[in-house]
Symmetry: C2
Subunit: 495 residues, 2 copies
């Protein structure tokens, strides 16, 4: 029998408790993370109300366009990946290969791959090496070599629980106290500012150039760097998100060189967040590692000591397996003694999820041409890629129809980040609610349509500009039309 | 074609690099984590050498008795768990229920459970709510209610990537700077001291009483607390590991009351690490939550404001699925504003691995009596439990045969933590190598036998005592005999 205690016990005041908002870690309190903030919480409340049959809302579904969560929306997992994972989870299935093939359509390469991975990890229920299982790191190294044309060493690779935990590890190593600073693009994925807040380190922002398709302007970075140094900040690293989040922008070889020049001259560690490397619509993805190695070949000396870390993940791309929390980072040019500290740091949390590690292996080593699973894999992969592109452009075209909305042509990642120009009356109404104008707009959008997006202020934006970030993952066009209709009514109301 | 660059590029000196051992985060540098330290690295090197056919070593296998990693050794996963997980990974399997039943022996409750979980998480590849999927938290709350006889609220539950990440979250919230202190048992699982180092907070140690079967002595805790307070430390919390790691000790109702009295009187948050709650050989496991609720019923007022957090995990017990990184913690009596900060903190890392969350659900809600999978589940569960007990006592008996080794009778967890008394000459030999004597002993043991254990200094021990921690997970008795033989030769050499 379960006893529920009298409620007086929940009536303790903050002052009576040991922990309250005024005495916990102030750096946790200071951290901001809008992607899962007030709007997301409200959207979830609406979802629950709808699922409980509430008919009082002016929409019949909630669209979570606030977060790059492909499989929450339309995206189906890639069969080859999930077939292998099912065998890793239940190795007893391997005892009946004939039934796997005939009834369930598992190809021989699915079965073979599961056996290779099991030979290395023993069981996905066992801890692995803290840097990740050796065979999986070998595959990642091979993938990087093939992508870039330059060698990669498995010992420099660290598998992670999604790229987020990798970023956290790296910033924990790099930041040595309140004077340490890291250059972060604006707009940015708020993981960076939140983690720097937690570490009580300085975010040194640099603006991306919206009018130049959200590219980098190295001169502007230099200016901000000088200003930060003059103010006593010990700037140690620069974050580049390529392709960009929330902007979707893909950097050119020249832009990347600009950042590497700066890194070499100013001795900055480069943190290259490359999780959207396969989500590229225009141009091609060039990794920072490849560009660095090219420059090291071309120019003697200058780039030799550049320290670079590149992050990747199973969460994005055509994989979209964010719930599995898999990823890796590669250290390039790091001091071995520092790398040993990175190892110690990650070993405290023992190891990243082993099934997520296996998924990293499958992502970097998919069925090759001629392999039994190749055709289905390629079909599914292309289907996801084409669907993303189609939805991105449909959304972009809708934005073009909207008064006061300007948007760069989709380039990559999973997001659009349009500028919105709001009427003065709307800005006043926001002030009256003590809110940023873009936040006010996004809240009204959610209340009216069930579509959840994130205000630009959650990522940072140039002063006196307003934006919002939306994914283009949700299926169909109904939700896009909801936005169009809301926007025109909103503008009419406040104009 | 892959280009390997000339090696001069790896010859940059520490001083030329941006990051070196002298300028990275000093708190990372200060952190110690022996479970995966020098000995573990050396053991892994031996394992690789053996696997490559090296015949020069005096042993033919490495026994990783340094870490509670059951499935790396003999322990098989529980079939019901893995069957459900295989369906979650590949939902296409659900399209052929007949083949699942007849060829693969999946019972109907396996299929049903997979469908219930999928209805909640949608896909194990999608991010979940940052606190964990709602249906899974409901199951955990029900489990706690049935275990304790007191109500539990799913909103107070936070699913985690193993208990380790939960501990990290909590200490990040609690510690507000260098004067913050947390009482930690000695010996302890080094996650606590390592995380406090990272946070630059104070570890306030309190000794467990080896002669009282590693129980707590509240008077001794009080003394240490007073001393720490007098030295200016703001002691905020007390960690209790029950059943103990590395000691295996199970606390009595009276011991638990003693800690709760102290917490109530001194306003300390209680962090109850209860991951070994099903690994109990003698007596019964009593949760801190249950004892707290009992005291709140029995005594008016005194315990009303106690803040307690209890942690659990899929890594230990008869589950042993540490590679899946699943766990949870429950906040009891916390200020809702503080709980909101915990939510924000965990949301920065998005969500714990979803397949690990599903495994938490299966652990807390296994097939009940009468359910089709119950019999097999119970048989496997009991088999693991009995095997652990048998191996624990076999190891204990071996220790009793060894000169200068004293060991408490096995009580629980997965470890024994014997005291060793070493000859003066051995202690001198250790000093000559600039090593602690227990570390010296464990290194010689590894070099001679391939058995990897962790020196007591990795967990902390009373001054002038020496210990080591060994798991009792490895199958067979050969490795135990290797230890016995080594020990007698070691003692002969240094006596």
């Amino acid at each position: 029998m379960t006893v529920t205690l009298p409620s007086r016990r929940t009536l303790a005041t903050s002052a009576e408790r040991r922990l309250n908002l005024d005495n916990i870690n102030p750096h946790v309190k200071a951290a901001k993370y809008a992607v899962r903030g007030e709007l997301a919480v409200k959207a979830e409340e609406y979802r629950v109300r709808l699922s409980e049959g509430d008919k009082s809302l002016p929409f019949d579904s909630v669209i979570f366009a606030n977060i790059g969560n492909p499989q929450q929306l339309d995206q189906k997992p890639i069969s080859f990946f999930r077939q292998v994972l099912s065998l890793l989870e239940n190795t007893a299935l391997l005892e009946h290969p004939e039934a796997l093939r005939t009834t369930f359509g598992y190809q021989q390469d699915v079965i073979d791959r599961a056996k290779v991975l099991l030979a290395d990890v023993q069981s996905v229920g066992a801890y692995s090496h803290s840097q990740g299982a050796p065979v999986i790191r070998n595959s990642v190294a091979k993938f990087i070599e093939e992508r870039d044309g330059f060698s990669a060493n498995p010992q420099d690779l660290y598998l992670t629980g999604g790229a987020s935990s990798g970023v956290s590890t790296l910033l924990n190593i790099i930041c040595d106290g309140p004077s340490a600073g890291v250059l972060v693009p604006i707009p940015q994925y708020p993981l960076y500012t939140a983690t720097l807040s937690l570490l009580n380190a300085q975010c040194v922002p640099y603006n991306l150039e919206e009018e130049k398709a959200w590219g980098t302007d190295v001169n502007a970075i230099r200016e901000n760097l000088s200003r930060a140094k003059a103010a006593g900040t010990d700037v140690r690293a620069i974050v580049v998100i390529n392709p960009g989040n929330p902007t979707g922008a893909s950097l050119s070889a020249e832009d990347i060189k600009g950042v590497l020049d700066l890194a070499a001259e100013e001795k900055l560690v480069v943190i290259a967040d490359e999780v959207y490397q396969t989500n590229v619509f225009t141009g091609e993805f060039i990794s920072f590692k490849k560009r660095l190695r090219q420059l090291q070949q071309e120019v003697s000396g200058k780039y030799d000591n550049v320290e670079l870390v590149s992050l990747h993940s199973v969460s994005k791309g055509m994989v979209g397996e964010c719930g599995h929390r898999g990823g890796y980072f590669e250290l390039v040019g790091f001091d071995p003694e520092v790398a040993a500290q990175v190892y110690k740091y990650v070993s405290i949390m023992l190891c990243p999820p082993v099934i997520g590690q296996c998924l990293v292996e499958l992502m970097v080593n998919p069925p090759k041409e001629g392999a039994p699973s190749h055709e289905l894999y390629q079909k599914e992969y292309n289907g996801i890629r084409d669907g993303l592109r189609k939805r991105a452009f449909a959304l972009y075209e809708a934005f073009q129809r909207m008064e006061g909305v300007e948007c760069q042509e989709p380039q990559g990642a999973m997001y659009l980040f349009p500028t919105i120009t709001l009427p003065a009356k709307a800005i006043e109404a926001a002030k009256a609610e003590n809110r940023a104008a873009d936040e006010f707009y996004c809240l009204r959008l959610l209340d009216a349509t069930g579509v959840c997006v994130v205000p630009g202020s959650g990522f940072g934006q140039k002063e006196n500009t307003l934006h919002f970030r939306t994914t283009f993952l949700a299926p169909g066009t109904d939700w896009v039309e909801r936005i169009v209709k809301f926007h025109s009514e909103f503008m009419a109301k406040y104009n």
